[in-house]
């Protein structure tokens, strides 16, 4: 099998696909796209290692941006900042990392590993920790395997770096969140160091290439005047839930997280249907005529009805014509421990998850 590389030409597709898997959150991948472009121009294409080809003795590390996407578009992160976090963790652990891992395949964090891998001269694994975007750092499949977030390292653009070695993942989230605020709400983290054998079983396979593929599917469908939304739903093994128009968006902020609800009214075949999207940073629950039809941990993607481009929860507004699709998440999220981490009740919705279809086709 020929080795796969991420080149600058792949980045637009990767970013567009990452916005879809971001399920409304994860931040606009645009800055990540520009950073990855600069990193690949400076250091060359990034090698992609399929998850099943990661050797047992590999030393892997996840990288991600932590903080507010709205800050990141102003105080632009640096390429070095990502590498600094990885090096700080390597020093603490006394290991040389061999592979970079994507923490979340949605939003800006799908691009950050490309930046790190280019700068460090390491391959990136074709996998991620979530199979989508989630708002908190303990919300990764490795948590289900007992892998701890820490030791983790955090770095700002000034050269400040810190390592947290915490008693559990909730403490890691809490301390890292405080440090992030002091660092100006835009920090890079290196987290969940794992050996190759653990990584192979605890990550969601194929999601980096899935991002690139989703971006390409949308681009080609549009160029060929085919339906991009149906193509995305098909690739994700998902279903189309609804077609309609946003008629109301209510937002409020609680504890640093934007929470809200959008009301939509159906058009075309869905005329007369009332649809509600409940979101925090991501779309979490979809309600059709009063009944929950999809929920976390499955993916709820809101796409522009015509272009198939992903619409984030921050840009939802009255009048948008959208189509909503739901797609199955990694099946491990549906176990009891998975649901305790990312099920509807964790986000404050008092109902069981409604599960969509079957697994994502390989």
């Amino acid at each position: 099998m020929a080795e796969l590389y991420i080149t600058e030409a792949d980045l637009d597709d990767l970013a567009a696909g990452a916005a879809i898997l971001g399920t409304g959150g994860g931040g606009d991948p645009h800055i990540g796209r520009l950073l990855a472009g600069a990193a690949v121009r400076a250091h060359g294409p990034v090698r992609v290692t399929p998850l099943d080809r990661v050797p047992d003795d590999a030393a892997t590390v996840m990288v991600a941006m932590m903080g507010a996407p709205t800050v990141m578009v102003e105080k632009l992160p640096s390429i070095e900042q990502v590498a600094t976090a990885v090096r700080a963790l390597a020093r603490y652990l006394g290991v040389e990392f061999t592979h970079v891992v994507c923490a979340e395949a949605g939003g800006v964090n799908a691009l950050v590993p490309v930046v790190a891998a280019a700068q460090l001269g390491l391959p990136v694994i074709d996998a991620d920790g979530m199979g989508r975007a989630f708002p908190e750092l303990q919300m990764v499949i490795p948590t289900l395997y007992g892998v701890t977030a820490t030791p983790m390292a955090i770095a700002d653009e000034k050269g400040n770096q810190g390592v947290f070695d915490t008693v559990d993942n909730h403490w890691a989230e809490r301390l890292a969140r405080s440090a992030t605020i002091d660092m100006g709400c835009s920090a890079m983290i290196a987290i969940y160091p794992m050996g190759g054998a653990t990584a192979r079983k605890a990550l969601v396979p194929g999601t980096v290439s899935l991002c690139a593929e989703l971006g390409r599917i949308v681009r080609e469908a549009r160029a060929g005047h085919r339906d991009p939304v149906a193509a995305v739903a098909d690739r994700l093994g998902g279903t189309e839930l609804f077609t309609g128009k946003v008629v109301d968006v209510a937002r409020r902020t609680e504890g640093g997280f934007a929470r809200g609800e959008a009301t939509l009214t159906g058009t075309g075949g869905d005329a007369g249907v009332e649809f509600t999207l409940r979101f925090q940073n991501e779309h979490l629950v979809a309600v059709r005529d009063g009944a929950v039809v999809a929920s976390v941990p499955d993916l709820i993607c809101v796409l522009d009805a015509e272009t198939g481009a992903a619409i984030t929860t921050e840009t939802l507004r009255y009048g948008q014509r959208v189509r909503v699709i739901a797609a199955p998440c990694d099946p491990r999220w549906h176990g009891p421990e998975g649901l305790a981490l990312v099920g509807p009740r964790y986000f404050g919705y008092d109902h069981d998850p409604v599960r969509i279809g079957s697994e994502v086709p390989a």
Partner: protein, 520 residues
Amino acid sequence: MRIGIDVGGTNTDAVLMDGTTVLAAVKTATTRDVTSGITTALDELKRQRAFDPAAVNAVMIGTTHFINALVEADRLAPTAAVRLGLPSTASLPPMVDWPERLVTAISGRAYLCHGGHEFDGRHIAELREDEILRVAEDIDRHGIRSVAISSVFSPVNAEFEQRAAEILAAQLPGIAISLSSEVGRMGLLERENATIINASLRELADRIVDGLAETLAAAGIRAPLYLSQNDGTLMDVDFARRYPVATFASGPTNSMRGAAFLSGVDTCAVVDVGGTTSDIGVLQNGFPREATTEVSVAGIRTNFRMPDVLSLGIGGGSRVRETGGEVTVGPDSVGYRLVERALVFGGDTLTATDVAVAAGRAEIGDPSLVRGVVDRSLAEAALQRIAEDIADAIERMRTSPDPLPVVAVGGGSILLPDSFGDSGRVHRPDHFAVANAIGAAIAQIGGMVDRIFPVEPGQRRAVLDAAKQEAVDRAIAAGAKPGSVRVVEVDEVPLAYLPGNATRIRVKAVGDLQVEAVRG
């Protein structure tokens, strides 16, 4: 009396207005030098309605000249971009996302220096005077005459941009300086891009403003001159010299505002149906709703205030087809060749104009060439298709469930039905051919606030009030009559992952122009 002038790519329109009454309106050809076309327009106005030049209180001009200069990459000044933000932002230096052709056209040079603020106002790093002095030397050595200064989070605190400007101005007498905090909003790259574009247009702005002033003086008009901004408010000539980029979208804005004014409604959808496309915008309290997304101009991502306009491929020249029982309209059009290709003009192509004439909506060309010839049900189906598509687009542009009146303008507006859903009867104003110039003439003075505010529990009202007062104060500082200023737009969006319930608040206030006593 006021004179409003719109200098478009093709036509220069002018109107003479007294209060809300249109006294004269003319349309002439735009000239390459801009000014001789204006002279012609002023002469035509006088011919239509004699007036004493000394009785004119203000002249308002809207122009596409600056945006055209950028698109053509022509007449742009050598420009330096100085960003204050180190040690942050270094990986993505100024102009990183620009087309190479435009970087070359402005001989763009980028400098990164220490400075910038955090989201909460702390300093990322202190400004270093020695760095700015070294930049000044290098700028001087390269013969650069215009500088754009940007600083991280300068919409929250502009102190570093201002300090760097003072240092550069002291070292480089005569240098033109543009500050990002005065040009755009949150989003460093987009704001910086707009500022660099602005800097590259400064010399052209000087030439154009000088030319306009001379033209008016030659016509005996000594009233103050204002230019139209993207958001439908005015800027005086000093501001126009410094911020030409603020004129970029004044064309569609003036057109919409003029149409709404002529119809007597200040919250409405304006549908401008041309030969190839229909442009749909929404006015709230007389001002166009602004696009919330980044706007790409000549391939450069920017975020300055642009009206939100939706374009549909439906116009008077759109081709009408029937395939398999389904009738389609556009998006391809015969365009300016309507007068030779359309059936009513003896052509061979069925267009939207033909179906409107066939259905008895309008008398254009030779109606006998289509009436009784084009299938009546086909014509009705095509017009139905157009009505549905436009209604759909209006729905998309609406921001609330309240009924929204519709104002139809443009040569192709005969395609539209007499009413849309709950909007009531479609307004079809007279004089719409000079709506742009009227939009310029009726413009007011504005003040804008757009920043991230911490909103402590129970303090929302107080924070909003403070933001509103700041917008009002800014409008007055820009020349609005104090008693006339009102807040026309308030928008608040809570931001994720920031402490202290950080909320982005945008407020816009406008007021009547404080017109100086008639002089002379």
